[in-house]
């Protein structure tokens, strides 16, 4: 564990050195990402100029949901998302995965964290500011229990996303092409930016029980606002846990199926 933590810090350092090699590019990308978030906020503000509530959600609550979504999204993109969605299929296709498998670390650790995106880490900091601003605006007395549940459900959201991304990436062992599917899932996760109240009937059911994207930001936000039932909390944790077990088993099967294609 300690060794993996040390290795993770080293990978962060390497990531920063690699990305800082083009400093103007680095800061421009960070600027672009912050502008993107600001413009999306402007979009929500424009929408709320016309309405008071979106379903049951007020502007301040949507702000919390938006900040939570980006918090989870940034942690995912800093760590495992690009590694699994794009780098792993490329490694399998080229046969370069061999060199990773011979390293004295867990193959899944390297496959998930080899390239740490420090550019996104810097862009992530304003997102924390936005979360603080949303909490300040909400003017709700949060209990420690609510804050703890919020933290736990953020981790739960990351476990859920890791599992789905890993399942998609593992298909590369058979198809060598999973990047397209990963992009589709990335587009689909944007559902998490909006309250699920925008959906009705089948689609609401779908995003809660079939592909539970509600776990990304809706469930943690509801927990912080004290609007989450204990039953749903259990469902959320069980859902991510089960999916993680399936994903890891699938990954092991994929790895056993791997045959190098390099020369």
């Amino acid at each position: 564990m300690k060794r993996h933590l040390r290795l993770f810090m080293l990978l962060c350092k390497i990531g920063l050195m690699r990305q800082m090699a083009y400093r103007p590019h680095f800061f421009l990308m960070v600027f672009g990402k912050v502008v993107r978030m600001a413009l999306l906020l402007l979009f929500f503000q424009a929408v709320f100029l016309k309405i008071d509530r979106l379903g049951q959600w007020t502007f301040d609550q949507v702000l919390l949901l938006f900040a939570t979504f980006h918090l989870v999204d940034y942690v995912m993109s800093i760590t495992f998302q690009r590694n699994l969605s794009f780098h792993l299929p490329a490694l399998i296709q080229s046969g370069n995965l061999d060199s990773r498998l011979t390293l004295p670390v867990q193959p899944l650790f390297m496959a998930s964290l080899e390239h740490i995106d420090m550019m996104d880490f810097i862009s992530f900091l304003p997102c924390l500011g936005l979360l603080g601003y949303a909490l300040y605006r909400l003017d709700v007395a949060f209990t420690w229990l609510h804050a703890l549940m919020y933290g736990l459900l953020i981790v739960n959201a990351l476990v859920f996303l890791f599992a789905v991304v890993l399942i998609i990436a593992t298909t590369s062992f058979w198809t060598t092409q999973s990047a397209g599917l990963a992009r589709v899932f990335d587009d689909l996760t944007r559902v998490g930016r909006y309250p699920l109240d925008i959906f009705e009937g089948f689609w609401k059911f779908f995003f809660i029980y079939v592909l539970p994207l509600a776990l990304i930001s809706q469930v943690p936000s509801q927990a912080l606002l004290g609007a989450l039932s204990p039953g749903f909390l259990l469902y959320a944790v069980a859902c991510s846990g089960l999916l993680a077990v399936i994903a890891i088993r699938f990954w092991r099967t994929g790895l056993n199926n791997y045959s190098s294609t390099s020369s």
């Binding site: 590019h25 800061f27 929408v47 309405i51 397209g180 589709v184 587009d187 959906f199």
Partner: protein
Amino acid sequence: MMRTALLIFRLALMERAAYRVNFMLQICGGILSILIVVFLWLAVYRSSGRSELGGYTLPEMITYLLGAGLINSFLLTTAENPETSQAIQDGSLSNLLVQPFSPYGLWLFRDLAGKAFLGAIGLAGYTVLAVLLNEKLVLALEPFRLALFGAALAAAVLLQFLVFQSLSLLAFWVENTYGFRFTMRVIMEVAGGAIIPLSFFPAWVQKVFALLPFTYFVYFPMRIYLNKIEPDEILSGLIRAAAWTAGLAGLNAVLWKRGLRRYTAMGD
């Protein structure tokens, strides 16, 4: 000359068709994104209890979103294309410079081919969506309006190429141009009206956006399609889009000429 251009166009089309599955998935992703936004706006109209918001009825808004999605996702994709800056950075521009046609023409026709390919596949995908949302769409069938819409779209395609090409040409001076193109794409999407009609923004924001060329990318063509613009405003809009095109073409020419003077390549 025309034959060479057509050949470049055809080859680029074939090259893109080789990766059909990825494109189909890209289109699925684009359509899913638009569907999510359509759901959002259905909820916004439901929550407001009004039939018109920001001057748009619900069918007009859904038509706008679908049209904007199609234009933005499939036609205005040059931002992602690193071909020019890559050629300058890795020195492969040297090879292009000794060919009997201009590299600039090559990039332009390859870009047009990419847009035509994605546009055609995208249109097929969006047609399915349009059939599903049939009752909630505004269909413009007057030939004159469609012709004006087509002209505005052609201006958008050219303008967008020139904006991003000028950023790619900065590769003569800087090591990596992706940051510039990424930031511009982000601004373009919002200021061009790809996410929401610009009339929804506060007045001061609309004034700032009106100073930029992006308004001609999505907002202007879609307003023509939805008949939300006066004829004299269409004319002045087309003239302004042409002026932007001329200005940016001039800027591109200057950057290209000065850049080539600086350009050096090494290799074996």
